[in-house]
Amino acid sequence: MAVLQFREAIREALSEEMRLDESIVLMGEEVAEYDGAYKVTQGMYKEFGGKRIIDTPISELGFSGIGVGAAMNGLRPIIEFMTFNFAVVGIDQIINNAAKLKHMSGGQVKIPIVFRGPNASGGQLAATHSVAYETIYAHIPGLKVIYPSEPADAKGLLKTAIRDNDPVIFLESEQMYGLKGEVPEQEEFLIPMGKGKIKREGTDVTLVAHGKMYHVAKQAAEQLAKDGIEAEIIDPRTIKPLDIEMIVNSVKKTNRCVVVDETHPFCGFSAEVGFLIQREAFDYLDAPVQRVTIPDVPAPFAKNLLDLWLPKPKQVIDAVNAVMYRN
């Protein structure tokens, strides 16, 4: 095991796969000569050169579409968005072209492409720079969506995503890039898409949390343990396809569930998980499923309001108390 920062784990996945497959190119803003806006691609331009590590102008629509066209015609592009908040300028290329061309052509084209970059809030960046996009992309047939919470998951899943022949949305986080974690050192460290992980075993309540919210759930679970409550944490890691089986099995054991989620509540990830649990495990539930999400408002700038906006361990603990009928 090596201890790596999140950004280093991603860089290892990118570099290892690029060494194995000449058809992979990486494009985005500041990925090459600047060495990456968040230093994820640091050193890669030096190793792979300008033919494969390509600085783009600030034209998200244009370079997303160029990536899709290159994927149709034999390359395996990785498109880096400086943040997914900027990807909305080019989202037509993702939800119409990347996701649907295989289908509309009756299967004649395939689009092996990865769109990656930071997602969700990153501090006091105000409303347009703080959106968690996983449910928006997960809504679209043809796409696969990953949002890992720890460096090892990031590396194993990104390598799998790059090798996958379907378009994959791979979501990261500015605030997690410096997070350290143990990462297996073997070359072929691959984590399958669509498989969650039980990150903490427990018997009293199931917490479902991915991405940055996993860490909020973890802090809550540690606090709850001091109170004698053992929470089981399921990190789905992949949003689509979702490992609902793992979640349902856990709920069948604990009979209670709280979903911790950085997307908005309406039609958000928590809404989907809550629905699936009632359908698959209704008779096992001892309490309605609860959720902790950001509110149905855009991210504010003011520090005190942002603190209110972003889910905190305290809210998770309150929700656990609610599903356990504790005061």
Partner: protein, 357 residues
């Protein structure tokens, strides 16, 4: 007129001609490197597109299929000339008025008609319809119906060709309406910066749906390229020889220099934007005038005048094509609709993808 792109009705009630045509090439077929025997296939190709679409319109009106139907009638010299000028493995991509391009590239009419009917034997297995013909083995990459959204795809395909050093050129067709999209401008910038081997072609038929080009686009269309230092030109699109001459010349330059081009091809569509378009934004006189420049009749007259064929030769070809189109209709009618299980096919490459329910 302030430029030669033309106009339709204006708020003051003044009517302009939508498109003024540049002069066609003055070269004869031999000067363009075409043999006598090369001409009848050009006629065949254009006439097939014409009859295929006239019959398609009839089938649509009879309620044989639904969706949109955008006809290419009047513009056939562009598809036929392009295919004649390019190599068979050069990549062609178009917008949503592409029946002609597919047929010119050699896709069998019966598979095209079956696609219109939404049958599983269709060229896109009934998943795409009129706007989304794909025949990738013939390097025909669709069929794209979000206006301008396929322009970056063409540049990306060219990037892949250049990366693989395979000598292929991409040609990307779109209508005059697409010139106004941001996708065109972003793509032009990167295509020129990165020297991508791609030919962008606006088929300027005078109208973005019902809005005359002078009312939707500032300046002359081909001059959009000037801001990016991209090579560009404007040519007559109703003369197949002109298209062959220009596309050959441009493709050779792109192959040699790996620099993109932007061509404005002035053309005219006889039919409405789609089947629901009564065409009250243009005059009957304008339509009749352009019909007098018909690309198919033009080639036919050239061949007769130069004693390369007689009326009976054309009649035989026309009868043969009529039968091919009628057979295509029978094929489409008799083909099965996609099996219900095909609803869950062609979405993911992953064969065992666990669809959400």
């Amino acid at each position: 007129m302030s430029n030669n792109s033309g106009d339709g009705f204006t708020p003051t009630g003044v009517v302009y001609k939508s498109t003024t045509l540049p002069k066609p090439t003055q070269k004869n077929h031999k000067e363009l490197g075409l043999k006598d025997d090369d001409l009848m296939p050009l006629f065949r190709s254009m006439y097939l597109q014409r009859r295929f679409e006239e019959r398609s319109a009839q089938m649509y009106q009879k309620g044989k299929f639904g969706g949109f139907l955008h006809l290419y009638i009047g513009q056939e010299a562009i598809s036929t000339g392009t295919v004649a000028a390019l190599n068979d493995n050069d990549d062609i991509i178009g917008a949503y008025r592409v029946h002609g391009l597919a047929l010119a590239r050699g896709t069998e009419p019966k598979y095209c008609m079956a696609e219109l009917f939404g049958k599983s034997t269709g060229v896109s297995r009934g998943k795409g319809g009129s706007m989304h013909f794909f025949d990738v083995k013939r390097h025909f990459w669709g069929g794209h119906a979000i206006v301008g959204a396929h322009i970056p795809l063409a540049a990306g395909m060219a990037m892949a060709n250049k990366y693989q050093n395979n000598g292929r050129v991409v040609i990307c067709f779109f209508g005059d309406g697409a010139v106004d999209q941001g996708s065109l401008n972003e793509t032009f910038n990167m295509a020129q910066l990165w020297k991508l081997p791609v030919i962008f072609v606006v088929e300027n038929n005078g109208y973005s749906m019902g809005t005359a080009v002078e009312r939707h686009s500032a300046g002359q269309l081909h001059k959009r390229a000037v801001a990016y230092d991209m090579k560009n030109d404007v040519v007559n699109g109703l003369d197949v020889f002109t298209i062959i001459e220009k596309i050959s010349e441009v493709a050779e330059d792109v192959r040699k220099t790996s620099e993109p081009w932007f061509l404005e091809i002035k053309t005219y569509r006889y039919r409405g934007h789609s089947m629901s378009d009564p065409g009250n934004y243009r005059t009957k006189e304008e339509l009749e005038e352009f019909k007098s420049f018909d690309p198919i009749e033009r080639l036919k007259s050239y061949m007769i005048d130069n004693k390369l064929a007689v009326e009976d030769d054309f009649k035989a070809i026309e009868d043969e094509i009529e039968q091919i189109v009628l057979d295509a209709i029978d094929f489409a009618e008799e083909s099965d609709f996609p099996d219900p299980k095909e609803l869950y096919e062609d979405v993911y490459e992953q064969q065992d993808y666990p669809y959400h329910t």
